[in-house]
Each structure stands twice: as C-alpha cells, then as structure tokens.
C-alpha cells in the first residue's frame, strides 16, 4: 500500500523539481491558466446571459401575433382583434406599436415602444419600474437610462424626434426607468400608443403586433394554433418559443466561441507535449541518478504524475478564479466587443456568473485530463532511461 508519508515526500520532491525548472514550469502554468481563463470566462458569460434570459422572459407575452406579407413582417390591422373574439380562453388582446429610431448624430438605435400598460399583466404596477416620474401621458415619454443620457442630455425635460417626413415631434420627459431594468429598457423610449403611431406615421387602425393574454397558461399552445388557423397571414409567437430562441442564440454563440477557444486548448496541449517530451541533459542526468540510488520506474512515473497534477490543478484553480473575477467584476470586458458588436448603446453587463459542478467538471476534463494525457508518454519515456545512460 502506498503510504501517505511516501506520497508527501514525492510531492516535496516534485515541487523542488518544478522550482529548479521554474522558468519552464511557470511558462506552462501561465499559458495553461490563460486557456482555462478564456474557456471559463466565455462559459460563465453565456451561461449568465442564458439564465438571465430564461428568468426574465418567463414573463414575456404569452402569445404575440405579427402580420406577415410576402415573408416580411408588416403592421397588423386592429380589426384582427375582432376575428379572435370567438376563441374561448383569451383574456385580453393588447395592440403594441414599436420600432426603431436611428439617431444620426450618435449613431445609436433606440427602441420606441407604445402601448397601454393598463391592459397588460402587472401593467398597473409599472410605476415601480420607473425611477423618477410616472407613466407617460399624451406627448410624454419614459426613457431608458442609456437613451436618457443621450437624448435628453441627462437634464432636459423636453426634446424632439423626427417623424418619417422629417417634421419634429416634441416629447416631455415623464420619467426614467430604474437602472436595475437596464438589461431590458436601456435603449427604450416608452410612450402611449397614439404618440408612437404619430411618430412612425402609422395609420390609427394599425399596430405593430398584438399581445394576447391567456386565462389558463396550459392552453397557450392550443390557443396559438387556433389563432394561426383563424389568421393564416400571421406569425404566432408563444412565450415558450421566445425562450427557446434565446436558448438557441446563446447556445450557438457559446458553441461557436467554444470551438474557437478549443483551438487555443489544442495549441496548448501541443505546447505542453513539446515542453514535456523534450528531456534536457539535466533531466536525463537527474533520472539516472535517481535510478542508481534505488528509485524504480514506477517511482519516476509517480513523480512525473504529481508534477502534472500540481501544474494542471493550480493552473485550473487560478484560471477559473480569474475568470469569475473577469465576468463578475469587469463585466466580461474581453468579450464585450464580440457580444455587443457595433452597438452604440449597451447596458452595463451586471452578470451573475453561474458556477455549476457539471460545467466546472467539463472544463476540468477538457483541460486537465488532456494535459495529463499529453504528458504521460513523455513521463514514461523519462522513466525508462537506463540508469547509467546519462552518466556514461
């Protein structure tokens, strides 16, 4: 039986050996920790975003109806609401007018949203999401934090936006959304339905889409099918599909980047193999001396094993810890340019990294195991050196 004291002595010797070759050992550990840092950072970022999307979009509209013409989305006539009156189980249908407004000065895209919140679930409590001010009345608007800093300059109470014919429409600032809601409202201008129609020059009997509230959540898919049958020129999007879209989006994104990062991992394994397989004359001499004084081949293998375990585990813990700090305290700043692209307005990513045992083990298996595997053959080659080979 392998005694604890013997293993402790072997670990001591491994550490001394690593210290003697500290330049090489440190180089391997820095690269190793860097690879784990990148893999873990991306995994934590995408996981945190996926979790946030799943948590938040659990309250998205149960059904959204969009009119499609020639494969493209168009404004939906309000009379479509009457066609749905025969469907039992629909509690309310709320028309929404929403779209985009491009600020040519800053290059930012804003999201304009107009609807009557009182007909939406929890709409009466919407005041709780507004930091200062109240729900917008006619010619008033509630701004997301990002838009407020840009459009209203932080302290203006009145500002104007261009209609499609370039005439100006003035708005009074009714309030701003709370900073906690930035992930949802950062680029949003919320106004009443008529003002949104006026801004987009949309006809009074049209809306962008219809939100359907269903009395019994278990009937959503049935009602969605009935709506699709009654209104064949529409696309019916259920809450479940919205959530699936986000799982797919971040899943793809995560997978795509993981493939790129696995290339870095493969490069590292090649690097580790190269470093570990190239026995220096000093190492050959050291092993020869060890064997002359009575070490067995198995002892040398165990010694190399401990070296690999120490290098890989310390690198793993350091890399993983740095990844958490990067995502949690620095808002995944290395990945922000990729995630947000050319967006002019983007909220602070206050991410809560998810550290799950399964995913941690996955990264452990993707990094530590290949490293140990890449170093085992060089270790065996080192261990079978004839005792007198380096000394002759």
């Amino acid at each position: 039986m392998i005694s604890f004291a013997r293993q402790l002595n072997l670990i001591d010797y491994s550490l001394s050996s690593l210290w003697r070759r500290r330049g090489k050992s440190l180089g391997v550990m820095v690269v190793f920790a860097g690879v784990i840092f990148l893999l873990a950072s991306f995994q934590m970022t995408t996981r945190a975003l996926t979790d946030a999307a799943a948590d938040l979009l659990a309250y998205a509209p149960e059904i959204t109806i969009q009119k499609m013409t020639a494969g493209r989305q168009e404004s939906i006539p309000l009379e479509y609401q009457e066609k749905l009156s025969s469907i039992w189980g629909i509690r309310a249908i709320t028309p929404r007018v929403w779209g985009y407004y491009f600020n040519e000065i800053s290059g930012a895209n804003y999201t304009i949203l107009g609807l009557d919140p009182h007909s939406m679930p929890l709409g009466d409590q919407l005041g709780q999401a507004i930091d200062t001010g109240a729900l917008p009345e006619a010619h008033e608007v509630v701004l997301g934090q990002g838009v407020n800093a840009e459009v209203a300059g932080g302290d203006k109470s009145i500002f104007s936006l261009f209609r499609p014919d370039l005439s100006l429409k003035a708005f009074a600032l009714a309030g701003t959304f709370k900073a906690e809601t930035n992930l949802l409202t950062y680029d949003t201008l919320f106004m009443n339905l008529d003002d949104a129609r006026d801004l987009f020059a949309m006809a009074e009997d049209m809306a962008t889409d219809l939100c359907v509230t269903v009395a019994n959540p278990s009937e959503v898919s049935t009602i969605a099918k009935k709506i699709a049958a009654l209104l064949p020129d529409t696309r019916v999007v259920t809450r479940q599909q919205v959530q699936k879209t986000y799982q797919a989006v971040f899943g793809w994104r995560s997978g795509f980047a993981s493939i790129c990062l696995l290339t870095a991992l493969a490069s590292f394994i090649i690097f580790a193999w190269d470093k570990a397989s190239g026995l220096t004359p000093e190492e050959r001499k050291e092993i020869s001396v060890l064997k002359i004084i009575g070490w067995q081949t198995s002892d040398v293998l165990v010694l190399r094993f401990w070296e690999g375990v120490i290098v890989s585990l310390v690198s793993f813990v350091v890399g993983y810890t740095l990844a958490y700090i990067h995502v949690s305290f620095f808002e995944a700043s290395l990945f922000r340019p990729i995630l947000l692209g050319w967006s002019v307005l983007h909220p602070a990513l206050r991410l809560r990294p998810s550290v799950e045992l399964g995913e941690t083990l996955l990264i452990l298996c993707l990094t530590v195991v290949p490293y140990l595997a890449a170093t085992v053959i060089p270790a065996w080659r080192a261990a079978i050196i004839p005792a007198d080979s380096a000394l002759n």
Partner: protein, 95 residues
C-alpha cells in the same frame, strides 16, 4: 518549510479568495432576488420579448420576434456584416 506545506499555504490562500468570491456570488443572488419583482413587472407590463443587449441591428435587438429574412435581406447568401450578428443563430422557426 517543506515545499508541500508551501503549496498547501498557497492553495489555502486560493481557497480563501474563492470563499470570498462565493460570498460575493451569494450577495449577488440576494440583490438579484430583490430586483426580480421590478424586472418581472417591466417584462410583463411592457410585453417585452427581448433583452436590450446588442442594439446594432434589429435582429440582434429583437431576435425572438424579428423578421426571419432580415439577417440575409441584401441578397440570398449575403455575408452577415454586423459583428454580433455573426454570433447569432437563425431564430427558431415558428408555426
């Protein structure tokens, strides 16, 4: 000091750091729970379907309800030109 003891001290320091990060994670959880009600009201009250993450293109701002042809609207097989768009999968097909 034995080298193994030095390694143990180093691992202990790492464990302390990770313990502090765990507490921070826990605090973040408490804060998120406190903000959950406001977020819930915002999503339900405004009927939101998407996160305000990448605002550079309409199909990255609203991937869940975007026009399905928009990412390749220039011509069939058009190369996606928005940086964040290249990381987005096609939206899930709807009935």
């Amino acid at each position: 000091m034995r080298p193994s003891l030095m390694l143990l001290v180093f691992l202990g320091l790492l464990a302390l750091t990770d313990g502090a990060l765990f507490l921070h994670h826990h605090q973040q959880g408490i804060r998120s729970a406190a903000e959950a009600d406001v977020m819930k009201i915002t999503v339900a009250g405004l009927g939101l379907t998407d996160l305000s993450l990448a605002t550079e293109a309409r199909y990255t701002r609203h991937p869940a309800v975007t026009d399905l042809v928009v990412p390749v609207m220039d011509h069939p097989g058009a190369i996606e030109h928005f940086p964040s768009g290249s990381f987005w999968a096609s939206p899930v097909s709807h009935p």
